[in-house]
Symmetry: C2
Subunit: 347 residues, 2 copies
Amino acid sequence: MTEYFTIRWENGIVQMLDQRMLPEKVVYHDYSKCSEVAHAISEMVIRGAPALGVAAAYGLALTAYHSQTSRVSDLKEELLQSAAELQNSRPTAVNLFTAIERIMGIAQHFSGMEVMQLRGEVIHEAMKIAEEDRKMNLKIAQYGQQFIPDQANLIHHCNTGALATASIGTALGVIILAHNRGKKIHVFVDETRPRLQGARLTAWELKQLGIPQTVIVDGASGYVMENNRIDACLVGCDRIAANGDVANKIGTYNLALVAYAHGVPFYSVGPVTSIDLSIKDGNEIPIEQRPDDEVAFINERAIIPDGVKVFNPAFDVTPAKYISAIITDRGVAFPPYQTSLYKLKNG
Amino acid sequence: MTEYFTIRWENGIVQMLDQRMLPEKVVYHDYSKCSEVAHAISEMVIRGAPALGVAAAYGLALTAYHSQTSRVSDLKEELLQSAAELQNSRPTAVNLFTAIERIMGIAQHFSGMEVMQLRGEVIHEAMKIAEEDRKMNLKIAQYGQQFIPDQANLIHHCNTGALATASIGTALGVIILAHNRGKKIHVFVDETRPRLQGARLTAWELKQLGIPQTVIVDGASGYVMENNRIDACLVGCDRIAANGDVANKIGTYNLALVAYAHGVPFYSVGPVTSIDLSIKDGNEIPIEQRPDDEVAFINERAIIPDGVKVFNPAFDVTPAKYISAIITDRGVAFPPYQTSLYKLKNG
């Protein structure tokens, strides 16, 4: 569906796009060992929680694919060692651990004698994890179509595309599908300080796909809405509370307030797995504080005087009242979210 | 009042802080010729409209100070040549041309025979221009004090300090005077993309003065207001329309909308000369569009894929309804601005 890919499995080789080099260089790496995949994860060749889950699954599949042993117990041992390498690659992305657990569960419960069978099951499960990610993305994109008119002029924040998943992405997936279905789309791309995922990654993806776009600084969205017809803002979501408050990349809340003041619809887009009904409202969502250097340095050079304090929350919380709808892979939730999210999650 | 200075005259030497090197290096240059000052202006050693006016005035004062001629007509010729150099230094800053006109008016109307007298008058006028800037800044700062409580927690956008003027600045001047009077102040500094005047210049100024501060990305102001007690936002102004709409650095409007949503007072700060009663409302204020590269490159390296479009308005317009008060050197205007601004300007 896209003319590039984040991660791909082909005949015992895992290929990854090196995201550290974007947008300056497009470089794909080939890996045939799980330890290489683990290293690529820790060096941030690949990033984005869903993409990391797929990478871990493919890493274990590599171990199964290339194993030379004829004994099931030896293969289990090899898989355990690979799992440990992957678990040490990055500490926080839950998808990574979920994928490892799923595959290791299969290995642990395997009671057959045929090593070829276990190898096949491990590889199969890895493919399944990738396929689920692909389907989830596509469903989200399909449910989102109703909100994207032809000739749509949109604002998008951060990166929610193929680079963060193993498919077309979440909020960006909605945009990409609309474009692929022949709608004329134009996207204003928030550059998304501090890490510039909009400028570096989203702009790169849209360019590859030939989707018309214009990059703006995050502070320019008010000017853009005041002077242009904007049909919608589309953003991802990292965690959705039971009342519809949504945690997402820092700057999302500002964009939502600006959209609200202009009567522009504001959509949060993500999988049902992001809905956390155990969390009552946004106040209970823990917000990661990231290192000062993400703000203080750009391209390894300081933009702030030495010793000056920085405050760098990675996410903010947009209250439910500013969100027009939440688009998921199981359908769309509208206000009041208390009931609509519960139905989506449990229906 | 400050422990650094943007530009200073001392015994026939003009000293300037090289702003291009901030915040990495603090370098002052000495100039004894007007041509050197003109070159420094064109190379952007100094910037900020009020500061450029003072620089041009000092440039002509250097010509008068160091002139070797004993004939009035020769000195007038030398001044004409210096004025031409300054006029070619930068094309748009109106203060630069106003300062040149004031001093050249004195030279043109001088009908005496004593070259020493003309030299004195030119130097005196230059000092007067600098002194007026200083007084204007101080009056603004004094009128602003009523809005700054002790223990104030503030948000400031862009740079409005000593570096943009020849004194303590406008919005930042209010903050600096509050600090100097012993109020405990903390400032959240918007980094102010794309040119990062907040991160590079305001943070540097506050650091020199020992005023507690924290730098944030522009998109984090909503998170900050949601999670901290913020007493006020203070910003500069480039042009004020008759109805109180204010043009200022891009990102100001977003900050105003975020402040409004949180009930945080929002103050525009600038000299009465920024009020333009000939302009009915913000729609009539022309907005400068700046080169793409200001957004696309940071520290000479691209952050956006080659060939991707950028939209880079230098300013935005904040509608009067989001502005709690406009602080000037002749007093404070409150809503309804239609009448209060007229009174300030003509009273």
